[in-house]
């Protein structure tokens, strides 16, 4: 007999890959052995968490298929169990795990697809709030505008990649046509954000990506513009800033 804290510790050890010998000793066995009964729980933990990861990383799941995803997710689950019960918040470390997962090394774009899936998941589960509109900035003097540090909407993220991850994403959608994506095509930087009833992304060019990266780092608009000009001297600040405003990418001023 084990005291409850020890029993739960032993059960946790078994579910994390231990042999469960100490546990099987205190479980009633009959024509179904204690070990077989315990395995039902271990299978459920592994499969249900792999299923939750498949829902959080749908593009990765589609790209590699059920069997490969199940093996990859299963390896991740035993190493990195959730630390809290909300499964929509489980899997932050999965993209880096995919990056180091040797069987996937022939799919070099896969970690970035996982990062895109995760960013969409985070954006979707972030609170909706008031957005910044162009009119909110009308009355601000140019000098103050330069010194303003804007916030993107909660849950926004930039996913940069050396691969055309926007086109890979499109090719992985249900109902996508069979056309191929050439990995040699230029990389993409995607701005991911929450909208009123979904999460979405938009592709940015290199200078826009530098502008948004600076803003995510709480740079002033002036410093962000300078960062973009450093990448592309012909950066069209008006058009890009207007586009971000039209996308409602910024949170309202506090």
């Amino acid at each position: 007999m084990l005291a409850l804290p020890d029993l739960q510790k032993a059960f946790a050890g078994y579910l994390s890959g231990g042999d469960g010998v100490d546990l099987a000793r205190i479980v009633r066995g009959d024509s179904i052995s204690a070990a077989a009964r315990l395995r039902i729980h271990r299978h459920h933990v592994q499969q249900s968490l792999a299923t939750a990861l498949a829902a959080t990383f749908p593009t990765v799941h589609t790209l590699v298929g059920e069997a490969f995803f199940g093996a990859m997710a299963g390896s991740f689950v035993v190493k990195d169990l959730p630390t809290q019960p909300v499964l929509a918040e489980y899997g932050a470390a999965f993209p880096d795990f995919v990056d180091g997962y040797a069987p996937a090394r022939d799919l070099p774009y896969l970690p970035d697809m996982a990062r895109l899936d995760w960013a969409l998941n985070v954006a979707f589960h972030s609170p909706d709030g008031p957005r910044l509109a162009a009119a909110d900035l009308d009355s601000i003097a140019p000098d103050r505008l330069l010194g303003l540090a804007l916030d993107l909407t909660p849950g926004s993220a930039l996913v940069p990649s050396a691969f055309p991850i926007d086109r890979i994403w499109q090719a992985s959608q249900p109902g996508a046509n069979g056309s191929q994506v050439d990995l040699a095509a230029a990389g993409a930087s995607l701005l991911v954000g929450r909208r009123s009833d979904d999460a979405a992304f938009v592709a940015l060019d290199a200078a826009e990506a530098a502008f948004v990266t600076a803003i995510l780092g709480r740079a002033t608009l002036e410093a962000a513009a300078q960062a973009a000009f450093a990448v592309e001297p012909a950066f069209d600040l008006s058009t890009s800033f207007g586009r971000l405003l039209a996308l409602q990418a910024f949170a309202a001023l506090r």
Binding site: P5, S16, I32, P85, A88, E89, H125, S126
Partner: protein, 278 residues
């Protein structure tokens, strides 16, 4: 809440329900799906105007010896303050140990020690929420050698000491009785009728372990006739309560689920399983 039948609200049906507002007794959600500020959370907050709600938590881990996760408890409390549901429940099980969350309803030994742990956790939950909660009997696949109480005796004692309600899942009773070789009628005998607040129904699957049939509580099919028979027996014995049909695996079209709830409601109203096809 009236003793009517409702459905477990699952995300594939969310948009259709928000659009069509089909008639059903009530909607039950899993708390953990709606703790973040997603569009889905906004949708159910709107649906509050049209439906009675029940909030069924799956992650409070009321059987954890280490006590409740206060951060998680705060988030669940926030949802409940917002939705003001008619019923709030979680399970007689545990899913957290050493800061790891196992996404399973893990079994407890039914001992005095476990009883003290569960009562303490249920009391803390009720104190934090400022209301009574109900505890559901889990589906069991194993039992511990050192259990000294039967599951219904244990549940009855938790209800007596903490003042909580009981949520009886007829499918879980059926699955547990089969897997642990118990008689469902014996299982029912020791329960206090006045503590029972809600019933659950779902389908189960047949699987094999060591070459023997095991019933798996997969919520993936129609409620079996045998479970509806048992449900009729429960209603005769303990009376009518709000009754939920859950379907979580191979989720069917919404109409199929709504029909299943109507079938359960016929049994509920007549207290007879043979009323299911009427």
């Amino acid at each position: 809440m009236d003793p009517v039948a409702g459905i477990g609200l699952r995300s594939p049906h969310l948009a259709e329900i928000a659009r069509e507002k089909p008639a059903t007794g009530f909607l039950e959600i899993h708390a953990e799906n709606y703790l973040a500020g997603s569009p889905a959370r906004q949708t159910i907050e709107h649906l509050r105007r049209d439906y009675e709600f029940s909030v069924h938590a799956v992650g409070l881990s009321l059987g954890s010896a280490e006590g409740l996760d206060e951060k998680h408890l705060d988030r669940v409390a926030g949802l409940i303050e917002r939705l003001e549901p008619q019923l709030v429940s979680d399970h007689l099980s545990w899913s957290v140990a050493g800061g790891r969350y196992f996404n399973d309803l893990l079994p407890l030994p039914y001992t005095e020690e476990s009883l003290a742990v569960v009562v303490r956790n249920v009391q803390r939950l009720q104190e934090r929420l400022g209301r009574r909660v109900s505890i559901e009997n889990p589906s069991c696949y194993l039992a511990f050698e050192h259990s000294i109480l039967s599951e219904p005796e244990f549940l009855a004692e938790v209800a007596r000491r903490s003042g909580c309600g009981l949520l009886l899942d007829a499918n879980n009773i059926f699955v547990t009785a089969h897997n642990l070789r118990l008689d469902p009628a014996d299982w029912l005998a020791p329960l206090p009728a006045d503590a029972i607040t809600e019933y659950h129904l779902a389908g189960h699957a047949v699987n094999y372990a060591d070459g023997e049939r095991v019933l798996i509580d997969d919520h993936g099919s129609h409620v079996s006739d045998a479970v509806l028979d048992l449900f009729g027996e429960i209603v005769r014995r303990y009376g009518k309560r709000p009754t939920l049909v859950e379907w979580d695996t191979d989720i069917p079209a919404l109409d199929v689920l709504l029909d299943e709830a109507r079938r359960a409601e016929r049994v509920l109203m007549a207290g007879r399983a043979d009323a299911r096809a009427a």
